[in-house]
């Protein structure tokens, strides 16, 4: 059977990136196994949980990026949320007594950056609104919960975060007008 080649010749394909990702994946998996074992062996605080979260962040943010909606807002929010989780874990497992102030500060800082990313290129970024809405919702919820339970002297960052999330929601709605409702419709459709 003789085959007439009617496609462009590609030569030997380079798969350096694929091979590197694969190698990094196995290394991370090995590290994810070794960390808890070492932690259990030497005892002490459960630092391995923090290491595991770090490995997960490295995998999802760098080595295996999202296949749908990989944009500056979604990636920034992913980084922000996992960083907040990391801070909360450090407080819980290693050094207590500071995260209730620091996490909301990081949160409202993140909201400001998010707003800048969104409003600096609104025409395109309106298609990337769901991650931002999720952040707004989480910030508002976190703020309400914190204000109910935390001591008054450490409530201010939570109050700022809550107010900022509401302000961002109103700003989005005002900027997009009817488009805001349509974006909602798209994002929450069940058809």
């Amino acid at each position: 059977m003789k085959v007439e080649i009617t496609y462009p010749k590609l030569g030997r394909r380079r798969r350096v990136k694929g091979k590197l990702i694969k190698a990094a994946g196995w290394t991370l998996l090995l590290a994810a196994f070794v960390c808890p074992v070492v932690n259990l062996a030497v005892g002490g605080k459960a630092w391995s949980l923090i290491a595991l979260l770090g490995l997960y962040m490295l995998w999802t943010l760098v080595l295996s990026p999202d296949l749908v909606e990989y944009n500056r807002i979604s990636q920034f929010i992913k980084l922000l949320l996992s960083s907040c989780l990391m801070l909360a874990l450090i407080e819980l497992l290693i050094v207590p007594g500071w995260a209730a102030v620091v996490v909301p500060i990081v949160g409202f800082g993140g909201l400001i950056v998010c707003a800048a990313l969104f409003f600096s290129d609104m025409e395109r970024q309106r298609q990337n609104m769901l991650p931002m809405l999720s952040l707004i919702f989480l910030s508002a919820l976190g703020s309400a919960a914190g204000l109910l339970w935390l001591k008054p002297e450490i409530r201010w960052p939570l109050a700022v975060m809550g107010l900022l999330s509401l302000a961002l929601l109103i700003a989005c709605a005002a900027a997009l007008g009817r488009g805001f409702l349509i974006e909602f419709q798209k994002r929450f459709h069940i058809k």
Binding site: M1, T6, P8, V68, E69, Q127, L130, F188, I190
Partner: protein, 504 residues
């Protein structure tokens, strides 16, 4: 004011500017008016608008260099062909149809359901005109001018107002599309020598919808080449799209009282080491349709049944297993049961299954294959499958995507395509108007490969040329060699074309 030296620099750097400079004042004014008209029809972002304008400039230069008058060139490229597509902000969005919902849920890095349709012209493709043809055609297919987005419960397609680009083929066919970035399209248009190809992510459409797009694009390309009629052809690109053209046609069908599932016993797979490149080779068996029909007739079978029989025998030759069942997936176009103008997915599938013992001679199998095709591919059977699909979709509609996605990926990864050995998708005979048929030599249809099926076959016929394409997932040539031998034995002359083996 542009200084003399600056103008010189522009003229040297930009062939279009250079051409403008060489024109008499009258022609320059005509061109300026032409681009003013273009400006009024384009509100794209600056960079995109520049690219779109660049397309017009390149096309004008192409015409002028081919000896066409400027007036005729501008007539062919009239910006009125852009319609309002680039002049209006994005407004439409489309929930995925029932068949499309699984594709974004199950895709993985390097693995995506992509299929490809190609047309072979008599002359080498002019990229400048193909780009213009795409610029003019896309507005008629609003559900293709989209980008895939994540909702809270389901993915959806959101309109992307941008210039869609054609590019020269330079990679493996049906390779995954990058749909992650803002506005990135879920299809690509490629050209290579005399071939125009469109590769689609299955979320957009099925083979029939894709064929409509390819025909419209080719028709527009031929018009720009001066080979087509001036009046509207095929799909009138100037018409507003009809709502029915992008409806989820599955939703119109009444549910059947009973439903059928998607599970079945694992089928025998052909042997041969799975390649890392997907597909690792594409082959086209180019045959005379009349010879193929004659061969099928000599076995008292239809072309589909005949080819299925050959595929079963070739599949048996491609494995050392002596027990088990082979199963071939056959997509069923639902438009034949429920006429619809939709260009989105509107097909389901059935499986023709034979135990290895039964796979012997063509004549001994055709009756059983016909029987199974008739019963499993019947309207009732399809309705049952559709009801099963609808029930599954309905039961999952309030489950957040973040939960559905990993579960779907896990299940799909586990089940995958193990219940099938191979696929045969027959798009049938493509009808073309005479003026198009004169310029088109052949067409082909390539299925994106599956997970473990070593081959996927597809057939499309245009005029008297039937093109059977095989997308391979293994370097082992046993399957295609046996198929070639069987066809040749039945008196069908086969010319084999295709790609090199993408290995290494």
């Amino acid at each position: 004011m542009i200084s003399g030296s600056e103008r010189m620099k522009t003229a040297i750097g930009d062939p279009f500017e250079e051409y403008m400079e060489s024109l008499p004042a009258g022609d320059r004014a005509v061109l300026a008016d032409f681009f003013l008209d273009f400006d009024s029809r384009c509100i794209l972002a600056k960079a995109e608008k520049r690219k779109l304008r660049g397309d017009f400039e390149k096309a004008v230069l192409y015409y002028v260099n081919s000896g066409l008058s400027l007036d005729r060139a501008l007539e062919l490229l009239d910006p009125v062909n852009l319609g309002g597509f680039y002049a209006r902000p994005a407004a439409l969005w489309f929930p995925l149809d029932d068949a499309a919902k699984i594709y974004p849920l199950s895709m993985k890095p390097g693995s995506m359901s992509v299929f490809r349709l190609s047309v072979y012209l008599r002359e080498p493709v002019a990229p400048e005109l193909l780009q213009m043809a795409l610029d003019f055609t896309i507005r008629r297919f609003p559900s293709f001018a989209t980008t895939l987005k994540k909702g809270f419960f389901w993915h959806y397609l959101d309109t992307a107002k941008r210039r869609f680009q054609v590019s020269e083929e330079a990679d493996i066919p049906c390779r995954p599309l990058k749909v992650s970035k803002s506005g990135s399209p879920a299809f690509r248009v490629l050209y290579w020598n005399r071939r125009i190809s469109v590769e689609f992510f299955h979320v957009l459409t099925d083979g029939s919808g894709g064929m409509l797009f390819l025909k419209a694009l080719t028709g527009e390309y031929l018009r720009l080449k001066g080979l087509g009629p001036e009046e509207p052809h095929l799909w009138d690109l100037g018409e507003n799209p009809d709502r029915e053209e992008f409806e989820n046609a599955f939703a119109r069908i009444e549910q059947s009282p009973s439903s059928s599932g998607f599970m079945d016993r694992a089928a025998l797979q052909m042997d041969g080491r799975l390649s890392r490149n997907r597909p690792c080779r594409v082959l086209h068996f180019k045959m005379e349709a009349s010879q193929l029909r004659q061969a099928a007739k000599s076995h008292a079978a239809t072309v589909t049944v005949y080819l299925l029989a050959l595929m079963f025998i070739a599949g048996k030759a491609a494995t050392d297993e002596l027990e088990g069942e082979q199963s071939i997936q056959v997509p069923v176009n639902m438009r034949k049961f429920y006429p619809s103008k939709t260009v989105r997915n509107f097909s389901l599938y059935c499986g023709v299954r034979l135990p290895v013992d039964m796979i012997t001679y063509i004549d001994s199998m055709t009756e059983e294959i016909s029987r199974q095709l008739e019963s499993k591919g019947s309207k009732e059977a399809m309705n049952r499958m559709l009801t099963g699909t609808e029930r599954l979709v309905n039961s999952l509609r309030f489950v957040p995507l973040a939960v559905k996605q990993p579960v779907a990926r896990l299940i799909y990864g586990f089940l995958g395509d193990k219940i099938f050995t191979n696929t045969l998708s027959n798009l049938g005979a493509v009808q073309l108007p005479d003026w198009m048929a004169r310029e088109i030599e052949a067409m082909d249809f390539v299925l994106g490969t599956a997970i473990s099926n070593r081959a996927g076959c597809s057939l499309v016929t245009v005029k008297d040329t039937a093109m059977l394409s095989i997308a391979k997932l293994t370097a082992d040539p046993s399957f295609e060699e046996k198929l070639y031998e069987l066809l040749s034995r039945d008196g069908v002359e086969v010319k084999v074309e295709g790609s090199e083996l993408y290995e290494g």
